[in-house]
């Protein structure tokens, strides 16, 4: 409110003219700090007092002192007056809210749901997408990948990594790593530990100092160097109880001794949150020979001042040079440089934004509902406010009172909302991908609380200001008139518009949730090519050098498999390098008749070594020939079974048995053809598959592919079999850890786990929105009916039938619903386009989803108008008219 009110000007002129003093404008400006109501009441007096003081002040120093004192006094006094009013308003608000507990509880609950949904969504989005990584200057950290056709993020070959590191100038330092689980023996049960093998410069590149001890030296990162290991904080605590003397202790990792040289800080996590220890990569020179052996990931720290674009440009120049130098191996091999923070799939990102969007929709609906509630309440309170105006409360004071009321409600709801968020967080946290270098889980911390506070404040203002403003304008003496019809047509129009907005937002949410649900069903209905039911799986990662020879491994497999097959209920059992959907990689170039086909050209297949019985266990149909058998050994010709798509690609005539192809350095002959399976998961296309007999792997070859995953088909419950199988493995090798014990069905289910969570969450939000919109419709119509009861009474008196009255109420409901559904459908289509990456091929104009959402909205409208319509029909004309 401005101070240029007529009374202010009059006072100013009076002061100046009467006293002959020009009370400076500055004092008037100081008075602006007081609430307008106080200023209107006492501004004139205070100016006069100040003028007198100015007149009495002795000399220039006296005047100067008076001004300084006036400035600080005003700051203090104005704050005190504001807090007086606030206290008064809070007391008044608490009293009035206490008189209408139904309204108060509804409002607080609605805010709690809105704020809670957003706080939970924010805490996850912030954790995954916004918050900087826990490394020094994280913006300078990048991930480096080879960029080849089909794979923009292909791991590096050691040779290319070494050349990139040598030739580039954009980076302060560069390091590389590969995930490499290790077996830990001698600490209780043998255990399989998620670990990473890192080059000596990796941890310094990340810029993190150890909590205890030191990092790897270059000498320790050489083949043949004595084993060393750095522990994560979590590992140090869980396995060694935080032993202060841990540095220098020797551990048995993969059968060889390793000395603990350091422990990393608690918040350090790399490359994924599950990594529990780090060992030196110590890449042997032999691995630098093959530029197509891609298995390490590069990390670089940009020099200060070097931009991403500069680094990308330089790396692509280098990749071009290497392509010219190695035209065969590096054909079409460019470089991908990504900021580490952005190393997150488009899908995870889209999913989180979709959730945040849904949460905001819920909040908007909540605010709309509240604004509506407050408007209705305001209209009902018109008399009270008119009385207050009549006894001298200014509009500013009334508006201020309304804002205080909405803020008090908002903060009560916001506080409850934080509790809602805490309850929702465990479900939401399942959306955090574990592929990020972040320790811990999202939590409601100071940052999130600040967000919740601001959101609550914004909410309070959003739903409070509109009604307060209308109140400020609308409160006049007409409210005092007996029997006046409170609430004009304009107010009802505004309320209708608010309800339309609610319906619109809930249509968007319903359609989005519906599409995600359909996408989930579609993915779940995908045929993986194998059958998962009844299959128990577990992993026994055989360590080298203990199992470097084929003979040693054969003995282990033979003893385990023969014992397992003898267990009651077991139908078959087999070992394979990797079970489908547990590892997407293991891809090798294929060449036919000595043609040099290139990985870059798409001539690739996934390679797995298997024992006999693999097809039978996973019930993968064998279409032609036979599976790799025990009789295929190092002394017989190298054979392979391939998948149908492999045959289709190279021998479209379908006749593949007996054909030769070159794969993994050897010529192999096809003895069998199996149906295709989805190796990479339900939603990703898979390369053709090549299955090699486990006895043709040789000593020390492809250690990565040593069969380690055991699959058992049983007639009973698969889980029940686990203890017996673990006993068998312990008998075969007491030092061999068993990990990843789970059913095949669980592995397949995990493929859709994040989709399930996301559909459930969005569905939850949609249900919430739906409920709030129903409350909105109900509120609107109830109010309209109660306001129009006299009109209805007149109509009935004039001969309107209950049917007419019913259709009048329903018409209003139908109009509001339709006006909300139509724009809602258009917005939902836009949302669908934005979410397309999440929809697994479901079209954003999927008619069934729209029909379902529209039907739900119609049902909701009918449901919401039932009670008001019933009341309208029962209006008694005599009573309604007598009230006049």
């Amino acid at each position: 409110m401005s101070d240029n009110m007529p009374c202010g000007d009059v006072a100013y002129n009076v002061a100046r003219n009467v006293q002959g003093h020009n009370v400076p404008r500055y004092y008037q400006m100081l008075l602006l700090l007081y609430p307008a109501s106080f200023r209107a009441e006492y501004g004139e007096e205070m100016r006069a007092v100040f003028a007198r003081r100015l007149r009495d002040a002795a000399g220039l120093p006296g005047v100067a002192w008076l001004w300084i004192a006036a400035f600080f006094e005003t700051l203090w006094d104005a704050a005190a007056v504001h807090s007086d009013i606030l206290r008064q308003d809070l007391r008044y608000t608490a009293r009035t809210l206490g008189r209408t507990p139904g309204f108060t509880l509804t409002a607080i609950l609605v805010i709690a749901l809105g704020v809670g949904a957003n706080t939970a969504a924010f805490s996850v989005t912030d954790f995954v997408l916004i918050r900087p990584l826990a490394f020094p200057e994280p913006d300078r950290l990048v991930m480096l990948w080879e960029n080849v056709p089909q794979y923009s993020r292909m791991e590096l070959s050691p040779a290319n990594y070494r050349d990139w590191k040598r030739m580039s100038r954009s980076f302060e330092s560069m390091g590389a790593f590969t995930t490499q689980p290790v077996n830990l023996v001698g600490q209780g049960e043998p255990e399989r530990i998620d670990a990473a093998a890192v080059t000596a410069d990796l941890l310094p590149t990340l810029g993190v100092q150890p909590l205890m001890g030191r990092l790897f030296t270059a000498a320790e990162d050489q083949p043949g160097a004595a084993g060393t290991v750095i522990l994560s904080y979590r590992m140090w605590q869980s396995e060694f109880g935080g032993d202060a003397e841990i540095v220098g202790r020797r551990l048995n990792l993969d059968g060889s001794p390793s000395t603990v040289i350091g422990v990393m800080p608690r918040e350090f996590s790399f490359p994924v949150s599950d990594t529990r220890l780090w060992i030196p990569a110590a890449l042997p020179e032999a691995l630098y020979q093959d530029r197509n052996n891609n298995f390490i990931e590069g990390v670089g720290r940009l020099k200060p001042g070097v931009s991403m674009e500069q680094a990308r440009a330089e790396m692509n120049v280098i990749a071009g040079q290497l392509e010219r130098q190695f035209p065969k191996e590096n054909l079409h091999t460019a470089a991908t440089v990504n900021r580490m923070r952005d190393e997150l799939s488009q899908k995870s990102r889209g999913l989180l934004w979709a959730l945040s969007g849904a949460a905001i929709c819920v909040l908007l609906i909540a605010c709309t509902n509240l604004a509506n509630l407050l408007l209705a309440r305001g209209i009902a309170r018109q008399k009270e406010l008119a009385v207050r105006t009549a006894i001298g409360a200014g509009r500013e004071r009334l508006a201020r009172q309304m804002i205080t009321e909405s803020l008090l409600l908002a903060f009560a709801g916001g506080g409850l909302g934080v509790l809602v968020a805490m309850a929702a967080l465990p479900l939401m946290a399942r959306l955090v991908p574990n592929t990020l270098p972040m320790a811990g889980m999202p939590a409601i911390d100071a940052r999130v609380l600040l967000f919740a506070g601001l959101l609550t404040l914004g909410t309070g203002i959003a739903f409070g200001v509109g009604p307060a403003w209308r109140m400020g304008r609308g409160a006049d003496l007409s409210g005092l008139r007996e029997g006046s019809r409170a609430g004009g047509g304009r107010k009802e129009r505004l309320r209708s518009a608010l309800v339309m907005a609610e319906i619109m937002a809930s249509v968007v949410l319903l359609v989005s949730a519906g599409m995600l649900m359909r996408a989930l069903w579609r993915v779940q209905a995908t045929d993986p090519g194998f059958r998962a039911d009844g299959v128990l799986t577990m992993r026994t990662a055989l360590p080298t050098p203990k199992y470097i020879t084929e003979a040693a491994r054969d003995q282990f497999y033979a003893s385990v498999l023969s014992e397992v097959r003898r267990l009651p209920g077991v139908q078959s059992a087999a070992y394979t390098s990797f079970l489908p959907m547990t590892m997407g990689g293991g891809i090798w170039p294929v060449s036919i008749k000595g043609q040099n086909l290139q990985r870059a050209g798409g001539d690739v297949a996934s390679m797995r070594f298997t024992t006999p019985g693999f097809f039978k266990t996973l019930r993968i149909p064998l279409l032609q020939g036979r599976e790799p058998a025990d009789s295929d050994t190092s002394s017989t010709p190298l054979v392979a079974a391939v998948s149908q798509s492999f045959v289709r690609k190279y021998w479209p005539d379908g006749n593949a048995i007996g054909r030769h192809f070159q794969f993994a350095f050897s010529d192999r002959v096809i003895v069998g053809v199996a149906a295709d399976i989805r190796v990479r998961g339900l939603e990703q296309d898979s390369e053709p598959q090549v299955y090699l007999p486990y006895k043709q792997q040789g000593d020390g070859n492809y250690p990565f592919y040593v069969p380690k995953d055991l699959a058992i088909l049983t007639m009973g419950t698969p889980e029940a079999l686990a203890p017996a199988v673990q006993r068998i493995i312990r008998a075969a090798d007491p030092e061999q850890p068993v990990s990843n014990v789970r059913t095949m069905a669980k592995i397949v289910e995990e493929q859709t786990a994040s989709r399930t969570v996301q559909a459930r969450l969005l569905g939850g939000f949609a249900a919430l929105a739906f409920l709030l919109a129903a409350v909105g419709i109900h509120g609107l119509l109830s109010f309209a009916v109660s306001q129009r009861s006299r009109e209805i009474g007149v109509r009935v008196a004039l001969g309107a039938t209950p049917r007419d009255i019913l259709s009048m109420v329903l018409r209003q409901a139908a109009f509001v619903a339709l006006a909300g559904v139509l724009p809602g459908a258009i917005l939902a289509y836009q949302a669908g386009l934005a979410m397309q990456a999440l929809l697994a091929g479901v079209k954003p104009d999927d008619p069934a989803t729209y029909l379902a959402a529209a039907a739900l909205c119609v049902a909701m409208t009918l449901f919401g108008s039932l009670l008001p319509a019933w009341r309208a029909v029962r209006v008694d004309p005599i009573t309604a008219l007598r009230a006049e």
Partner: protein
């Protein structure tokens, strides 16, 4: 209806304002001057403190604004004048009783001025 005791203890500014208007109606600036004179210049109420107190005292019924004005030639500033109500006087007396009781208690504990 509020009792005088409900308002105790009185904030110092309130008590001083009651004393200033105890014997005659005064306008704001006169109250400030009177309080300053009474306290030997120790307490100089700011305009904000004064009117904030007055606003509350009016609401509490300790003061009323008077409609009587002194002769026009004296009333050159056309101010609002404030008069103590019987309730205001009762409240001031109640405060005096409370304070003297407190002083009596303090003396009994040996807190007399002039003693170590």
């Amino acid at each position: 209806m509020e009792k005088p005791e409900d308002l105790l203890p009185l904030p110092p500014a309130t008590f001083h304002i009651l004393m200033a208007v105890a014997d005659e109606d005064r306008h704001g600036y006169a109250i400030i001057q009177d309080v300053a004179a009474r306290t030997g210049g120790e307490l100089k109420l700011s305009a904000g403190t004064l009117y904030r107190s007055i606003q509350r005292m009016l609401e509490q019924g300790l003061l009323v604004e008077t409609l009587e004005r002194p002769a026009p030639e004296l009333d050159d500033e056309r101010r609002r004048y404030y008069r103590i109500t019987p309730f205001g006087a009762a409240t001031a007396r109640a405060e005096v009783t409370r304070l003297s009781h407190l002083v009596k208690l303090a003396r009994a504990c040996g807190f007399a001025p002039g003693r170590a």
